[in-house]
Each structure stands twice: as structure tokens, then as C-alpha cells.
Symmetry: C2
Subunit: 401 residues, 2 copies
Amino acid sequence: MESGPRGGSRPAEPGPCLSSQCGADQAASASVLSAAGAEPGSRTLAVAAVLPAGGCGERMGVPTPKQFCPVLERPLISYTLQALERACWIKDVVVVVTEENMQAMENIIQKYKHKSISLVEAGVTRHRSIFNGLRALADNRLNSKLSKPEVVIIHDAVRPFFDEDILLKVVTAAKEHGCSDYDLEFGTECLQLALKYCHIKAKLVEGSPDLWKVTYKRDLYAAESIIKERISQEICIVMDPKENEEHIGHLLEEILKTELNHVQVTSQALYNAGSDIQQINLEQCYNFVCVNVKTPDFRETQKLLSMLEESNFSLLYPIVVVSAHFLDFKLVSPSQKMESLMWIREFAKEMRKKNILLYGLLINHSQDEQKLQENLRQGAIIITALIKERNSALIGQLLVA
Amino acid sequence: MESGPRGGSRPAEPGPCLSSQCGADQAASASVLSAAGAEPGSRTLAVAAVLPAGGCGERMGVPTPKQFCPVLERPLISYTLQALERACWIKDVVVVVTEENMQAMENIIQKYKHKSISLVEAGVTRHRSIFNGLRALADNRLNSKLSKPEVVIIHDAVRPFFDEDILLKVVTAAKEHGCSDYDLEFGTECLQLALKYCHIKAKLVEGSPDLWKVTYKRDLYAAESIIKERISQEICIVMDPKENEEHIGHLLEEILKTELNHVQVTSQALYNAGSDIQQINLEQCYNFVCVNVKTPDFRETQKLLSMLEESNFSLLYPIVVVSAHFLDFKLVSPSQKMESLMWIREFAKEMRKKNILLYGLLINHSQDEQKLQENLRQGAIIITALIKERNSALIGQLLVA
């Protein structure tokens, strides 16, 4: 699908004139500019991105500009930056923000350890802001650490959901179709003027429904649900094989696999406290169930928590840890066991500060095989709910299955 | 804003040609047809609605057609029907469904007690389906209980969020601008043809962002969040004033008011089991906290639950009931209290069948005023989370604050 500068449907709202629109929800998220002289070829192109983030989000109905609205307690723009970082061929990212949000943006970059980001002050309009971002890339004097790119991706700060393939398509399109009359040094007075007078060829790049833009409050709800779903795709069951925990652990694993047929459930053993963290494939996993059967209460859980604390993997997403305890309610009253587990509440408060959500789960380890299966299934339902909701108000609670 | 039949932007997708579009998210949700001879005036117009619901929802990425997708366990189309029912001046609603979904639709109408609904079989295209719906209204022989309307609202089954004011505007616009060359009896061969050949005047009615259409899976997430938010706007605290529960009940009320500054918190007394249900303004409220202090455990909660069961108010939305129990943890071990409260789990399973979500909450009734305040605040946070999430996996759990 190709369209000339004026082809296709009219943009529904002010935006970069070089962006290609293909319907409200399938719009290509990024417009691209390639500098004069950038030739398509096998060598690696120097690619940069400009994120206009100077908007005030008046349609959102909340006082915070939408790019700074928290999603799972992290500002939306941080998710967009994280997605751009995954495309390691993007050398620099320029975020354009208003003066009043400059410090807040610096704090976000520092807190979430975003790399290769430069901040530039927004202009009066969105086009002026993009211009400021482009000038920062073109003008080496302004910021010596930025290198002049051959292709610039202009991406909405409030479109956190896209994948690298789409970006690559956009960059490829820029190389093949892009902007031969366009010069980063001199041509960026206004993108609208460039479009009007330079007859820049625009290429429509097919997007995916995920590219949608967070505009209304309901979009924040949807974004939060999508992110929760994405980080709930893998559960790791941690147990100590030396202590005969394997049997019950694997039973729980099987039931979780049945309950959550789209979720990958793996099990891991922690051999020693302080052992090599690489034993667990933590990087892909934000959900852990720690099986404590014969070992003293919380020993396995504490080992895991120490590892998680050291790793800092909870920086970007809250990690759920369910400390599962097994007890035959016929032999010992669950309330007695509860007494000994009550300190999980204080412990959970400490973990909360590190973005780790700790919950307790007491499962009736019935000698009746059928009852045990039912209790494990109930436990799996509770674990699933805790992982899906990631509700920080319920940390430290001791749930019963 | 007025536009002729071909004015404005092109519809993004197939739809009734008479619908007026004003952008992806602010599109007027309903198109209207007024029959020849319908005069604007002070007398009440006979208004009916046609809901084309024959789509298969291929963009949703789930096998169920989107209008039947569950939101808080109730099919989306039931919310749309409920919203139409609130406009009592709409006499008849015709839902157009495919043959294979006819029985499912009948079950929905019966289960959720929707009134004045007729079912008509869908055509091959959306336009044909609308035609079938209109013909059912025009042709008294087909269904004798339907009266011939003067204005027909055509409304997407997957737009559950609109208010009566918007509908009234649409109907008013139909009266003033509408369709004078148009005749329900003879003119509805195809709406597209009617538009093309009859030069029907179309009137653009300004919509609200709430009118958006559930199209993608993320829209279902958003719909669920919006509905959860709407039914969490009021909390009723129930207590027995004769048993000196008022003090602690009002303390909790004050803290809930502080924690939830947008939520209306009221308190009510239940005098006798089986007393007049009208004592509590149940109809607006889907959230209850039952304070049990000096009374035997669960007495207040049981009274309330009996009333709720009788009322059937949980038909449309799940009702949250938090049974709050106070105990000085220094005097009595919380685990002992837990023992006596454990049967809440079985009780909650029974209530679940009636769409009532019952949770237990044990609050440390410390003699230290400051500690009590902190515990109540913690209790309020837990109550808020339970109400907001409405998580059926956690029913019957006994949480501790």
C-alpha cells in the first residue's frame, strides 16, 4: 500500500505530517525521516528516535499528562522507552518534554535506568517539538554525545505496544521510499511545510492492532491489563529436591499447567542460599511459587527472595512470590500454623519496597488423594488470581486452600 | 455540525450508511430513521431500537463473537440492553442475531430478565440484518406484540456505554432533520441505496468518548475496568446500633471516606433479621461492609446476606460483602479467632452461586488509639482492593489488618 503526501484518509488529529495513517487503530506508529544521502544497503544504518512527549493529555480526564500516568506504578513513557531499548540498533533516543516536566523525566530515566536518552525542551506545538528533537540530533554542538543519524523514527510516547519487526519495516520503508529531497540540516523548519513543498514520498506501513495510542482513561485500563497479561505468561515453582518436596511441588505444577493452559509453568531447585542466581531463568519470569513442605517455614522463600533482591529484576515490573505451605489440617489446626506464619505480613512490607509482592498460601495436605487434588486445584486458582491481579493491598495475607 | 450523506470522513468500517461519523472515538453510536409522516411535536414519539448483533468479532482474537464475550461474567450485549432499558421511552428493542446464536441470545434475555426484546434472524451482511430488524418493526404480521414505531434507533450491540441524553439528542435530530423521503414500509431495501438515491439529510450528533465500540480484546479489558469502577462508587457500612458497634463502625466509615475520596460511603443499621429491605438503599449499592463487634460472629453479615439473596439485586452485577470482625490481638490470638471464622469459606461458596462475593476481614482492635487508626486504615485499603477487583478466586478468605 502506497500513498502520496495527500493520499489516504485525513489524520484524525494533529500529528507529524509524514506519518502514514491507515485507520484509527492500525495506524503505523512511527513516521520516519531519512537524511539526504542515506542509501539503502547492507551496512548498518545509524538510526535514532524522537519521542514528542510534551502533550498535556487533556482528553484523558486526569491532571497528569498521559505519558506520565502510572501503569503498574511505572509511568507509561517508561514502557515506550523500554520497548525502544529492545531494538538495539536504535543508537539514540531524544525525548522532547516541556520545561516543567524536565526534572520528572530525568527522574524516570534514572529510576528505571534507561540508556542513551537525551532530553530536549518542547516547542509550542507538536511540530515544533519534533523539530527541536530533530535539531538536537542534527546539531552536534548542542549535545556532543549524540551522533548524527541517517534515519530518524518519530514515535508517540504514548504508544508503548509495538514490536521490533514493525520498527524495522518502518526503517526499511524510509530507506527505500524516503525523503530524498529532505535534509536534516536545513529542511526541518516545519514538517508540514516539508510535506507541502518538498513532495516527500510517503510509504504506508501496515501496523498491528497493538500499535494503538493511549488517549483516554480507558486506554490506561487496557494498557495495564495487557501488561499484566504479558508478565503473567510464566510461573516458576521453586522447591528443594533434597527435602522430598518434589512430589507435592510437581503435583502443584501439573495442576497449574491444567488451570493455565496458556501459561508456561517450570520448576526449579534452589540448592544453597547464595547460590548462583543463573540457576533460575529469572529474566523471563515475574511469578514464583515457593514450596515449603518439610523444610523450616519460609526457608525456600527466603532463599528466593534474597536472590530476587540481589538481581534487581523487579525494577521494571512487580514480581509476585507466593510462599506455599503444606499442612494436614486433620493433624494440625490451620490456625496454629497460621500463628507461626503471621510474620509474613511484616516481611511482605519490606519486600514491597523492592517491588516484590509476597503472599502466603496454606494448602491442606490431605491424605485423601482426591481431596488433595481438589485443594491443590483451589491453591492453583488462588495463585492464578494473585499473579493476574498483582494487588499490592493484599501482600502479606495468608490465604487458605 | 451538519454533514450531507457523503460529507465528513469515510466510515472506517462497514456500518449503516445513515450513521454519522465524527472521528474514531467520538462517533455517534446510533443512527436513526424516522418514518414518513413522523412530525416533531410535544406528543411522545413511538421509538424502537434495532441492535444488529450478527457479527463474528474476528478482530477480537477470541472465538466468541464480541457481543457475547463475558464482562464480569455477563455477556457484553446484556450491558447494552440494560442501558437501552434505562431509556423507558424506547418501546421495543429488536436484536438481530445469526441462527446459531438465537438460543444463546434467548437464554441471555431470560437469565438477565431483559424486557421488550424481540429476536430476528440476521442477514448475510450487516445492512441486510438491519433491514430484517426494521422489517420486523414495520410488519405487524410477523410479530404482533411489536408496534410500528415513528423513530428507529440503530445501535451497535457492542457499544454498552452511552447515556440517555445522547439517545434523546439522536432521536430529536431524527425528528428535526430526518428522512422525510424515507418510508419504513417500502424504502428499506438497503440503507446504502436509500442513502444514495433518496438524498436523505443526515445530522451529525456530537457523541461522548464513552460511546466507543468494543472491537479489540483490549476494549474488553477496558469495558471490565469501567464497569468495575462504576459499581464501586458507593459503599454501605452495615452495623447494629444497639450493640455499641456504632463507634468502631463510624471510625471505619471515616477512614474509608478519606481513603476513597471519590466514593460515597454511607452507614445503615439492620434492626431485625427479615426486616424491611427498603431500610437499605440497595439498588444503588453493590458493596457492603458488615461490622461484627459485640454481636455473635456473622450475625450482622447473615442478616444482610439474607436480604441480598431475597432482593435479587446481584442479578446484573456481582455484589461484594466484607464481613469485618474486630478483636484485640493482645488479648486473644488472631489464630483462635480465625478458627471460629473458618466456616466463612463454605458459606462463601454458597453465596458465590448467587453472584455475591463474600470475604472475611479480621481487624486488630488495639486499645492504642493510634495503632487502631493504622489498623483501620489497613482494613480500608483491603476493603477497597476487594471491591475494586471483585476477584471471585479469593472469596471466603479471611484477611487480616
